[in-house]
């Protein structure tokens, strides 16, 4: 939908500023009550979701023109969705996150681009990845790994490593461990190797819908050619793209994050832990796996009024409030590791604080990105945990980058590393 199609959402915003906080019911302290990194860093009201709705309406009404500041308002946001969750506690007609996305799409269509994003998108168009790397290097993570090449063979399951893991040598071990776990459990799994392409999810969040659609269609075709039924990924961005966005283009694959697959294997007794990891850890819910991890539910219908002006939909419209994301599985996986103690942070699950890496922020506003991660590490430290565990390579990298710059002592893991250590 175009920005204009969300005019009703903008005009129905009551500027209650619930979007700036975690759901009020969950506030446990002064320190960790805030929910939106953008307003906390940007300062002015325009950097909140309600502010962005106002700016969008002003733009539609011709009250303002494009300025550098307007571009910052639109792009200096991780599109993490915390605003959307807090707004929807009480409001069924609001889609604040969709307005923010639609604003970016309009900016891109109108040529209002950030140079930092343009470089990344140019590279995506040429090299099929968001990491500013050559596509020739893409499959290196799998060198020596005995796994099916789905450009030549077929398999029931494709493991999609994603851009970050594929080009971050420190993270190759995550993909290799995931593939080995799947294989050892007897799963018919393959990879696209050097021909794997970006999921398009980050381009989608940055407002580049054309690029997203192109990569989504290419991936769907490639997987269909390889006879794939299930897509497994360790990347939460990828999970969101495959699980929520691709079905809108006709994709019908079952989509699983690695942590879901591991959880299944533990439940079936196909993964057994033999080692103890005596450590207190806390778990960071990646936005795209947590509050945005709910599956796509197709809906076609209309808004109508009952009792004069009460707004309803015909047929009933599914509402993505973030409550049914992937929360249980990572926690149960961690709790099943002998010796490991899981301590929760104050902001968890649908109201988790973002890692800071998403929405094109790491590319365009690295200081803001690192500040956001630092806030999360502070929260993790406040639990008394020795380590923060996540299930997304973008989160992990941003925590590591922040930690390196600040002399943090907190250990940072992807959940699959701990699983592998405990086997």
């Amino acid at each position: 939908m175009a920005l204009e199609d969300y005019r009703a959402v903008m005009e129905r915003c009551a500027r209650g500023s619930f979007c700036k906080w975690i759901p009020l019911a969950h506030i446990k302290s002064w320190r960790f009550a805030k929910g939106c990194p953008s307003i906390e860093y940007g300062g002015f009201h325009s950097y909140s979701a309600t502010g962005r709705l106002a700016v969008s309406l002003s733009l539609l009404e011709g009250r303002i023109n494009y300025t550098d500041e307007l571009l910052k308002i639109a792009y200096k946001c991780q599109v993490c969705g915390a605003c959307d969750v807090s707004c929807k506690v009480c409001r069924d007609v609001m889609e604040t996150l969709e307005v923010i996305r639609a604003l970016r799409v309009k900016l891109v269509e109108d040529g209002q681009l950030l140079p930092e994003h343009m470089y990344v998108i140019e590279n995506l168009r040429k090299e099929d990845n968001m990491m500013m790397k050559s596509k020739a290097e893409r499959g290196k993570w799998a060198e020596g790994l005995d796994v099916k090449d789905l450009t030549k063979e077929s398999a029931e399951v494709v493991f999609h490593a994603g851009c970050h893991i594929s080009f971050d040598e420190d993270q190759w071990k995550l993909a290799r461990a995931a593939v080995n776990l799947l294989k050892n459990a007897g799963i018919d799994v393959g990879i696209m190797g050097k021909d794997e392409a970006c999921c398009g999810g980050k381009a989608y969040d940055m407002g580049y819908r054309g690029e997203f659609t192109k990569y989504a269609q290419n991936n769907i075709e490639a997987w269909n050619r390889a006879g794939v039924k299930i897509v497994v990924t360790s990347c939460s961005d990828g999970y969101f793209a495959f699980n929520r966005l691709y079905p809108q283009l006709g994709s019908r694959f079952e989509v699983l994050h690695t942590v879901e697959f591991i959880h299944r294997l533990i439940k079936k007794g196909k993964i057994k832990f033999s080692k103890t990891i005596p450590m207190r850890v806390t778990y960071h819910d990646p936005c795209h796996l947590g509050r945005m991890g709910e599956p796509y539910i197709p809906w076609e219908g209309i808004e109508k009024k009952i009792r004069g002006q009460i707004i309803v939909h015909e047929p009933s419209k599914p509402i993505m409030r973030g409550g049914n994301g992937i929360y249980k599985q990572p926690r149960e996986v961690l709790r099943s590791i002998p010796g490991l103690e899981l301590i929760e942070m104050e902001r968890v699950k649908e109201y988790s604080w973002c890692c800071g890496a998403g929405g094109g922020v790491k590319e365009a506003y690295p200081d803001f990105s690192l500040w956001t991660a630092k806030e999360r590490l502070e929260e993790a430290k406040a639990t008394g945990a020795e380590a923060i565990v996540s299930a997304c390579p973008w989160c992990e990298r941003n925590f590591i980058d922040t930690s390196n710059g600040n002399g943090e002592r907190m250990k940072i893991y992807d959940i699959i590393e701990l699983v592998q250590q405990a086997i």
């Binding site: 009703a8 903008m10 005009e11 129905r12 915003c13 009551a14 500027r15 209650g16 500023s17 759901p23 009020l24 019911a25 969950h26 506030i27 446990k28 302290s29 002064w30 009550a33 300062g43 002015f44 009201h45 325009s46 909140s48 309600t50 962005r52 709705l53 106002a54 700016v55 002003s58 009404e61 009250r63 303002i64 023109n65 300025t67 500041e69 307007l70 308002i73 969750v85 707004c87 929807k88 506690v89 009480c90 409001r91 069924d92 007609v93 009024k305 009952i306 009792r307 004069g308 002006q309 009460i310 707004i311 309803v312 939909h313 047929p315 009933s316 409030r321 409550g323 049914n324 649908e350």
Partner: protein
């Protein structure tokens, strides 16, 4: 008017370049406001400020105000900023957004008060207070609102007022950057004795600075205040369970969360008085009914069953149990009891039972189910679901918001409010939620005696016809109030009625001379008239 380069530079020198903006997009985010479409501009946007500033300290606020005096520029500060009264009322105003001043400076457990800066919200202070066995009054607008704004700048009643008082009662010492730019420290703070008292030793200016209805951002900037805290006999952290939006909290043994209903409005009013007399109740409020007598029993089910949405409203309304709740729940309000000891809660329960016997009232059975009790408790203790007000049609406007004794409200205000709203609901331009869509603070002040009824008109701000319908209703509501000797409330302010109409409305206030005194206060404290025009005062002194 656009700020001259000289003025902008002077302001930038105070707060630094990162904390000032005159970018139109930024400024329009400040102009956008709730119910602004009801104003004469007919737009979601109030007047656009000339600049927005983010001061980080009292000293910066003082320097800004002094600069405004030097250049004769109006300024208006807000803390959390909800409502048309937070935005500039006219062109030519600079907006101070106080969000960088966001610390809880102190919680004095022994003396039961906290000292806060403007951007501390009720939810934050409450969470920290509960850790030490204390609680803070949360205003009816909800826990997302600034504590300081409630204490200094607006009315300030809330569901817990019966136990914790009105915001004006809870305000202790404060730090006030007056419209001249001078800093006044009131009460005990003014004599260097700390924050514990608003009335002295030291200057006692609570009545001058905020009066009954607050300064509305038009009389300088309140930069710190101490606020009275109350005992909290619950857990240090309220456990919250359930899937969004069906959050709920288990009831501790010493708590009860009831919905009470009465056979007549007279018995309803009697129950208020008897509750005041018995000195029971931690929270007493008519909350759910703001969604309308015809709708609330079905609508709140979305907070019980997370698979439900507003789209399920009609289906839910057809359920026999909801039909029964609708009938049982007429003339009802919520009452939370909290016992500081087991004997205390037993006494309160016993007293309530006697009140119900004497008034013919009863506990509404559906609302006594565990899931409903848990939801009621969480909602009213934390005031965390307040955007429910916007949940039906997109937004609402509160009308007939009057304080008075229980019998005055039920016998005098209520019939007028029901007649006006019911007539307009039948036209289809506002939501037909039922003629009784009244929220009510059972107690507007600590201990009771004074209470409030507010009639909710739900309308769609996206639909121009609906906006026109809401406007027509507001005009009618104000007229009906005046005919019964009452002054207008939010409906007058949102519509930005003419000066003459406003003066006429205020003549019907219980003590119209107050507005004349407020004019005198304004003239004395703001000689250069740099305060925003929201400050409530009559145009001329007439007494």
């Amino acid at each position: 008017m656009t700020l001259s380069r000289e003025v902008y530079q002077a302001l930038e020198d105070i707060v630094g370049p990162d904390n000032i903006s005159d970018d139109p997009a930024t400024l329009d985010s400040y102009a956008f406001q709730w119910v602004a479409e009801l104003s004469q501009r007919g737009s979601k946007f109030m007047p656009r400020p000339e600049a927005a500033l983010l001061p980080g300290s009292t000293e910066e606020v003082q320097a800004i105000v002094r600069t405004c005096n030097r250049y004769k520029i109006k300024c208006k500060a807000f803390s959390t900023g909800w409502g048309p009264y937070a935005a500039p009322k006219t062109d030519g105003v600079i907006q101070l957004d106080l969000r960088r001043m966001d610390r809880i400076l102190e919680i004095d457990e022994k003396n039961m008060f906290a000292v806060v800066e403007p951007y501390v919200i009720g939810g934050q202070l409450q969470a920290e207070a509960m850790k030490v066995g204390l609680n803070t009054h949360i205003i009816g607008a909800g826990s997302s609102c600034s504590v300081i704004a409630a204490c200094t700048s607006f009315l300030g009643p809330g569901p817990d007022s019966i136990y914790m008082g009105h915001s004006s009662e809870n305000l202790l010492a404060m730090e006030w950057v007056m419209p001249t730019g001078d800093i006044l420290r009131t009460g005990s703070l003014g004599s260097g004795a700390g924050w514990f008292c608003g009335e002295g030793p030291g200057p006692s200016l609570r009545g001058i600075a905020r009066g009954r209805r607050g300064a509305w951002g038009g009389l300088g900037v309140f930069t710190k205040c101490a606020v009275k805290l109350s005992p909290w006999p619950g857990p240090a952290v309220m456990p919250v369970e359930g899937v969004i939006p069906a959050y709920n909290s288990p009831l501790p043994e010493n708590f009860r969360a009831y919905t009470l209903a009465f056979p007549t409005w007279e018995s309803y009013a009697d129950a208020y008085n008897k509750i005041y007399d018995a000195e029971i109740g931690y929270i007493a409020h008519r909350q759910f009914n703001l969604l309308g007598e015809e709708v609330w029993p079905a609508y709140i089910m979305r907070f019980i069953d997370p698979t439900k949405t507003t789209d399920d409203l009609e289906e839910l309304l057809r359920l026999p149990e909801i039909q029964k709740l609708k009938v049982e729940g007429r003339r009802s309000f919520q009452l939370v009891l909290a016992g500081v000891t087991p004997r205390d809660i037993e006494y309160q329960k016993k007293a309530l039972n006697e009140i119900l016997v004497e008034t013919g009232g009863r506990i509404v059975s559906k609302m006594a189910e565990p899931a409903m009790e848990r939801f009621t408790l969480l909602y009213l203790i934390k005031m965390c679901f307040k955007e429910i007000n916007m949940g039906l049609a997109g937004t609402y406007i509160g009308t007939f918001a009057q304080h008075g004794t229980p019998d005055f409200l039920v016998s005098h205000l209520r019939p007028a409010a029901e007649e006006a709203l019911g007539r307009h609901q039948r036209k289809g331009l506002i939501a037909d939620t039922g003629a009784d869509s009244m929220m009510a603070a059972v107690s507007g002040i600590g201990g009771g005696g004074d209470c409030t009824f507010e009639q909710f008109c739900h309308y769609d701000p996206h639909n121009k016809e609906s906006v026109r319908g809401a406007l027509a209703y507001c005009a009618d509501a104000a007229r009906a109030a005046r005919e019964r000797g009452m002054h207008g409330g939010l409906e007058d302010i949102a519509r930005e009625i003419s000066k003459e109409e406003l003066e006429e409305s205020r003549r019907h206030a219980p003590q119209p001379i107050i507005y004349a005194f407020q004019r005198k206060i304004k003239e004395a404290f703001d000689p250069n008239d740099i305060g925003d025009g929201s400050y409530i005062a009559t145009e001329e002194v007439k007494y």
